[in-house]
Symmetry: C2
Subunit: 362 residues, 2 copies
């Protein structure tokens, strides 16, 4: 009863790890392939004794399931797409690191998509084929969607989660901080130090890749000013790219306008760092001449003595990954959390370092 030799066409005689198939395990364990499949995936409908035999056989043969076959037959990919604007920026690096750990620990692969500020990459990603049947779920980090992109995503009909996103996706949970409050706290800190001419530098919301945090942070800034009886001055509010260079350019522009501010609230730490550079170049001392505060608590903010509003980046990643996977694993999300639940807001915290100081009396 020797089965006829299988017709092996693609793999021409290469012997080694990976040639073991589920049939080999089934034969050795003396069960059907169906049972091997069930035992290996830990399904409950397998007797303890059988499971033991199957595991031993699989171990002995060094069997590893073929992902493609499993995906095709089972309909699950075991992968998650993670979309970030720029992996090189502090926040996204930290988020991705936390997410990667969580996903792999849960047995999922992470497909990384970095938009890199390029329209081309956006197009590529949201062309149906890039995500279609490749992943079980999607995580969108700080990536607002245009209408067309939103419907392309909706057509995929996949679960997902957003982090600090500009666009809430219907049916997807969201993890973020309260950007308005963070900006308010930062601005209030400067006000309490006696500053009145407080500038704001932020990312450009016209930038297609901008996320609404820009707008929220501006709102918090303006609210704090108004609460202190001050009127936001457009001359003190400059937009640029949401990174170090953008901070430098925005600050240069600010100084070019004459009558410089005594304090700058930067929309993120990287912009604040650019501001530090521009101020130094201009011969202004921080904090003696100008105070500077950002948002993030970037790994280098301590080195630079930068005051900031710390936000929990890794925690946001971890929590979002958990909220994404729990339903996939059949675990129901937290009780009372419907699919239309409000965003989960994580706390921020003022960190005062050397870059902010009392305004000098004139």
């Amino acid at each position: 009863m020797v089965p006829p030799p299988t017709r092996r066409r693609h793999h021409t005689g290469v012997i080694g790890v990976g040639v073991t198939k589920i049939d080999d395990v089934a034969r050795l364990a003396g069960v059907s392939t169906a049972t091997v499949s069930r035992a290996l995936r830990g399904l409950p409908t397998v007797s303890a004794a059988t499971r033991r035999r199957v595991l031993a056989a699989a171990e002995q043969l060094q069997y590893a399931v073929s992902p493609s076959a499993s995906r095709l037959a089972g309909g699950r990919t075991g992968s998650v797409a993670v979309v970030v604007p720029r992996i090189t920026r502090w926040f996204f690096g930290v988020v991705v690191e936390a997410v990667e750990d969580f996903l792999h620990e849960a047995g999922y692969d992470l497909l990384l998509h970095n938009l890199g500020g390029r329209e081309r990459n956006r197009q590529r990603l949201l062309r149906t084929a890039a995500l279609h049947k490749r992943v079980d779920a999607i995580m969108l980090v700080a990536t607002p969607l245009r209408a067309a992109e939103m419907s392309a995503l909706a057509a995929l009909d996949l679960p997902g989660v957003t982090i600090s996103s500009g666009t809430e996706v219907p049916g997807w949970p969201c993890v973020r901080i309260d950007d308005v409050a963070a900006a308010r706290t930062a601005t209030r800190h400067l006000l309490e130090l006696g500053h009145r001419r407080i500038a704001h530098i932020s990312g450009d919301p016209d930038d297609e890749l901008a996320f609404s945090a820009h707008l929220d942070r501006r709102r918090g800034y303006q609210e704090a000013l108004r609460a202190a009886g001050l009127r936001p001055d457009p001359a003190l509010d400059v937009e640029s790219s949401f990174d170090i260079d953008g901070g430098t350019r925005a600050t240069e522009e600010l100084l070019r306008r004459g009558d410089p501010p005594t304090a700058i609230f930067a929309s993120c730490d990287e912009m604040a760092m650019g501001a530090l550079t521009a101020l130094r170049e201009a011969g202004l001392r921080v904090p003696q001449d100008v105070s500077v505060i950002g948002i993030d608590d970037h790994a280098l903010s301590g080195v630079l003595g930068l005051s900031t509003i710390a936000q929990p980046a890794a925690e946001q990643g971890r929590l979002a990954a958990k909220m994404l996977l729990d339903p996939l694993a059949g675990r129901s999300p937290e009780a009372g959390m419907s699919t239309t639940a409000a965003p989960v807001i994580l706390p921020t915290r003022l960190v005062v370092r050397e870059s902010t100081a009392p305004a000098r009396a004139h």
Copy 2:
């Protein structure tokens, strides 16, 4: 001649994008599925007219190939695993960004693996199943392998490439800088400024995740000292973790030993930044009291005025990705480049900023 209704078990009546299969396209175009497959993949054995019809049909039906089915039948995954020690560190973020762009542009997916300094992650990754039949190729960034890991990888029998790796993998090309030369240049810069007590702070080579760059950079440092007639002083050579905190701790240790150096060569910019922090805390001015230089040209080195040896991170990523994919695409690698070719060495460049200055006369 209506075909009998297909038995649809898994997809229960969901209508939308993605239900189109290759048979649908074949029917609409009036050809076989084999021809659709060939036409869509751009194989040359399809007439122009047929190809046109197939493409039109696929377009009309919004057809996207099922990756799992294609992988199972074709044996190729269209994915590449990229392994980095820590995505949050500057060098790896920049490398991954460049690689991601190149891979996606070539139609490959990127599976990210971040070791994160955890032994657990290493185990997980090199357990057969994590990579087995999941990717067509592997990129190892600054990830030296132990013997067991090396043979596990070899058993996978996949093409790969290493970047600045500690371990050369037989048959895999390698892209890197000349670490010895970079360190020599940095040290010589300090020597030329008149420094004689030059310390070195570096990553810990006993750390399992260390890469041999540590050793090479130390060698360059020592070579430069000897060439200047100086004897390397173990008291001036401190190992710590290869990041900001490590730089801080190593520098604190250095200062604790008494008779502090007049200059510090840090094995990477992040350690140099940690050194800046520790020096400031200790009340020492940079560069008046102590000069500091690193290696990398980190995005924030300019902000900090840190002198450094710039290395082309994105370029290393791009080139490695190209060297990995060209053979997969059937393109032969550069003429004369055998699989045992020597590493491709990319150039580095001394960047003098404000953190290095002439040693004061005593």
